[in-house]
């Protein structure tokens, strides 16, 4: 493989505590190396150099995303970008085509992306779409929080069986981590109910969200998985829900991470913006970002991603079926719902976060407050819960808001009800401006550590994968807010595993994307084997053989992370 030397850029690499020093980055055989002999030289003078960024939570592949694509043809209107050299046609805004997903992440400097909710029964579909998403390495989180096996084992306090079932499911679905969505609530939705508090009982199973969350944290650490239990808590999106969120976060207390990957958290709470609301109804809706962030700041065994509202027309989609039904009743726009037998469900509704509506403005403020009040950027990550709070293609705009108080002031001024937004939040009084080192922590080093992938990704240390992004942005110069957004909208150069993907803003290759999954070895467990067999015979409409994700068709280039959880 060829050698490359990215010369004289301003390097931001929290993995090595490099804060914008002018330095060279050498690449050989897919890895970062100390030095190279006859490299192709890339002049990065006056530019910003970072590792490839990591996405911890986005909905980019699978049946739910595809429902969105199918029932929102209007999302593609006027968005097509025709075929070019090394580059297929792109289309879509909030629910882009698989090809656009790959290209658009690459253009932003992202090289690894996690699909946040894989219904196990449709794992094959998820993998087929990931296969068709070029360039970026991807993994997917199977959803466990409403799964009948999990609910039954946890009800009987059978930790070893939960762990064995999780290991089995990760292996057959080629999944990466334990995802929990509205624990118990989605199952309750099948009975026309929901779980809005952590102590609300799940019908039939007679278990509470609290027990599901705690049980899955224990199972996760019993297995020693690279990532932690990854939760979308109960009561999402409702005024006054911050107390439910605090109750959820408190469940991490007393648990300690046990793994060989350098991960420190036991709970990752996703899109916490949607869970940090005060008030009792929409009329007195207000931000409760501060109590949430205060709690997270003090507890090192918790990480969060934000789920910034980007003020766009977008498509909401979640395994939180009851929430989507609630949403369509609010905005009267079209609604799709799907049940996934024994496992989960999903709903999809278009949504417009309008700067003219004060609730949208407050949601925008809540997201930014969370990031700006956060004391440890290594534990707080940039996401939009794509496409729920906005499309991931808006990350450069979020970076602009985080780095420039002036940009935030301009947006506040543009809100129709700006006084209401200012009164119901503290965004106007925050003068913190994040620097590029902190942005690199929130998008590179932090997510890599949180996912247990810090040895491969998120840094520029010799030995790490050569995922490198070069932005045409000189951190020594004064910038207008818009220039920040423009610079981070399109990398000038991008390397993925040492392969040049974008050179001088043009795609030169689609690389060789990998699918990451976790292969956890556990003790033989005849009971779980028997239970799985029985459920397939009794309830599933497919056979076990037609369930498993196997073969090159689904995963042409797998990358298994092995965990030994035999006890």
């Amino acid at each position: 493989m060829a050698e490359y030397l990215i010369k004289n850029g301003f390097v931001f690499d929290p993995a090595q505590k490099i804060k914008g020093d002018v330095a060279d980055v050498a690449i050989k055989d897919g890895k970062i190396v100390k030095s190279v002999e006859k490299p192709k030289v890339i002049d990065a003078k006056g530019m910003t150099v970072m590792a490839g960024a990591l996405e911890v939570h986005a909905h980019v592949a699978g049946p739910k995303v595809n429902i969105g694509r199918i029932f929102r043809p209007e999302d593609k209107l006027f968005t097509y970008r025709p075929t070019e050299k090394n580059h297929r046609m792109e289309g879509g805004f909030s629910i882009p085509t698989t090809y656009k997903t790959g290209y658009a992440y690459a253009r932003l400097g992202y090289t690894t992306v996690m699909e946040a909710a894989m219904p196990p029964l449709f794992a094959r579909h998820v993998h087929e779409e990931m296969r068709d998403t070029p360039i970026i390495d991807e993994g997917a989180y199977p959803v466990f929080g409403n799964n009948w096996f999990v609910l039954e084992y946890l009800k009987n306090k059978e930790l070893e069986n939960v762990a064995a079932y999780i290991a089995w499911l990760l292996r057959v679905t080629k999944g990466f981590a334990i995802k929990v969505v509205n624990p118990g609530g989605t199952e309750a939705w099948g009975w026309g109910l929901n779980c809005l508090q952590v102590k609300d009982p799940v019908p039939y199973f007679d278990i509470t969200p609290e027990e599901i969350i705690t049980g899955l944290i224990e199972a996760n650490e019993y297995l020693g998985l690279p990532h932690s239990m990854h939760i979308h808590g109960n009561n999402l999106g409702n005024p006054g829900n911050y107390t439910t969120t605090l109750d959820t976060l408190k469940l991490a207390a007393g648990h300690k991470a046990k793994n060989k990957f350098g991960r420190e958290q036991v709970m990752h709470h996703t899109h916490i913006q949607f869970h940090s609301y005060g008030g009792t109804k929409w009329a007195d809706f207000e931000s409760k970002a501060r109590p949430i962030v205060d709690y997270v700041n003090k507890h090192k065994n918790i990480t969060i991603d934000v789920g910034f509202v980007t003020l766009d027309e977008t498509t909401t989609m979640t395994a939180d079926g009851p929430f989507e039904h609630h949403l369509t009743e609010l905005n009267h726009l079209k609604w799709a719902n799907a049940d996934v037998e024994l496992e989960t469900a999903a709903g999809v509704v278009p949504y417009i976060y309008s700067p003219d509506i004060f609730v949208s403005g407050i949601q925008w403020a809540v997201g930014l407050e969370i990031a700006l009040l956060s004391k440890d950027p290594m534990r707080c990550y940039i996401t939009t819960d794509h496409p729920n709070a906005g499309p991931f293609t808006r990350y450069p705009r979020i970076i602009k808001w985080l780095m420039s108080q002036k940009a935030r002031e301009e947006q506040i001024k543009a809100f129709k009800a700006n006084d209401k937004v200012v009164n119901a939040s503290e965004i106007a009084s925050i003068d913190r401006e994040l620097n590029l080192y902190e942005i690199a922590q929130m998008t590179r080093a932090g997510p890599a550590k949180c996912l247990g992938l810090a040895s491969m990704y998120g840094g520029l240390k010799p030995g790490q994968d050569a995922d490198v992004a070069v932005y045409d942005f000189n951190p020594d110069k004064e910038h207008k807010p818009m220039e920040i957004e423009e610079a981070f909208s399109e990398v000038k150069y991008l390397f993925k595993t040492g392969v040049p993907i974008i050179m001088d803003h043009k795609f030169v290759s689609e690389g060789r994307k990998r699918t990451l999954w976790v292969d956890a070895k556990v003790n033989e467990n005849p009971q779980v084997v028997r239970d799985v067999k029985e459920k397939f015979l009794k309830y599933y409409t497919v056979t076990e053989k037609n369930y498993e994700v196997v073969g090159k068709h689904f995963i042409p280039n797998p990358y298994a992370i092995e965990v030994d959880a035999t006890h």
Partner: protein, 267 residues
């Protein structure tokens, strides 16, 4: 007003996407520049000049520019898309999306137009001397934002799904309409049908008005008779029976009064 005349040279193999044929794009350009504007034939980009002779001259602004398509336009999609001012005259028949997302100015189609004319239209005027296809003055596939303003006048008949998701503006049809009129309509759009209508008129209608001068073959059971009213509609004074619905739909309240979709049937 200056006039640019486009004369089709040969019938293309595939349908052409000609959203660049608007007074906005032509204004201030020489004929060579106009001929160099692009269009799509399938996935292939061509210069407009490959398919049209360009004569006459454009005005300095869209408002001062008139375009005449002299000949068959039945393989041209998106004529006048998003235009804001000026005029287009289509001498033959035209394909889909005539005047889609139009904001101002005037289009006259002397023949028939295919489906989706005036999709998402916000302002201006479309006059169709022949018949209109399906989805006249509607929303784009999947969208809930249909025609919001402007006027469409059809001398002949219209196809099915006229005014689908209509939110405003006026559609006047001289002849008959096929099934589904003003489905999902909301706001204050107005559809006047001088001829007959078939069925599913006003299905899932939240707001807006439909006037039918002729017969309605199968009325919706979810519309209720309210009263008789004397009205002048597009120059015709007559007595109408007012029906309100669709009662199976949600209906917003304004000043304590529930807003319904209205169907006026001429006696």
């Amino acid at each position: 007003m200056n006039t640019v005349t486009l004369t089709p040279k040969a019938k293309p193999d595939l349908y052409l996407e000609v959203d660049n044929i608007t007074p906005d794009r032509f204004a201030g350009k020489t004929n060579e520049e106009i001929a160099a504007l692009h269009l799509y034939e399938g996935s292939t980009q061509h210069a407009l000049g490959k398919f049209f002779d360009v004569a006459g001259s454009s005005g300095p602004t869209a408002a001062e520019t008139k375009i005449v398509i002299k000949g068959d336009a039945s393989r041209l999609k998106y004529i006048g898309m998003k235009m804001t001012a000026g005029e287009i005259v289509i001498e033959g028949n035209a394909d889909m999306y005539v005047g889609a997302w139009m904001r101002g100015g005037k289009i006259q189609a002397k023949g028939n137009v295919e489906a989706f004319a005036g999709t998402g239209m916000k302002g201006g005027e479309i006059q169709i001397d022949g018949n209109a296809g399906n989805y006249l003055g509607s929303a784009y596939r999947g969208d809930w934002r249909g025609m919001a303003g402007g006027t469409i006048r059809v001398k002949g008949n219209a196809g099915s799904d006229t005014g689908y998701f209509m939110n405003g503006g006026t559609i006047i049809i001289g002849g008959n309409v096929d099934v589904h009129v003003a489905t999902h309509a909301e706001g204050n759009g107005k559809i006047i049908i001088k001829g007959n209508a078939k069925s599913k008129v006003g299905g899932q209608m939240v707001g807006g008005e439909i006037y039918i001068f002729g017969d309605l073959e199968v009325p919706m059971p979810t519309f209720e008779y309210r009263k008789d009213v004397e009205l002048e509609v597009d120059g015709t004074k007559a007595k109408f029976a007012l029906f309100e619905g669709d009662t199976a739909e949600r209906h917003p309240k304004r000043k304590g009064e529930t807003i319904y979709g209205k169907i006026y049937m001429k006696y």
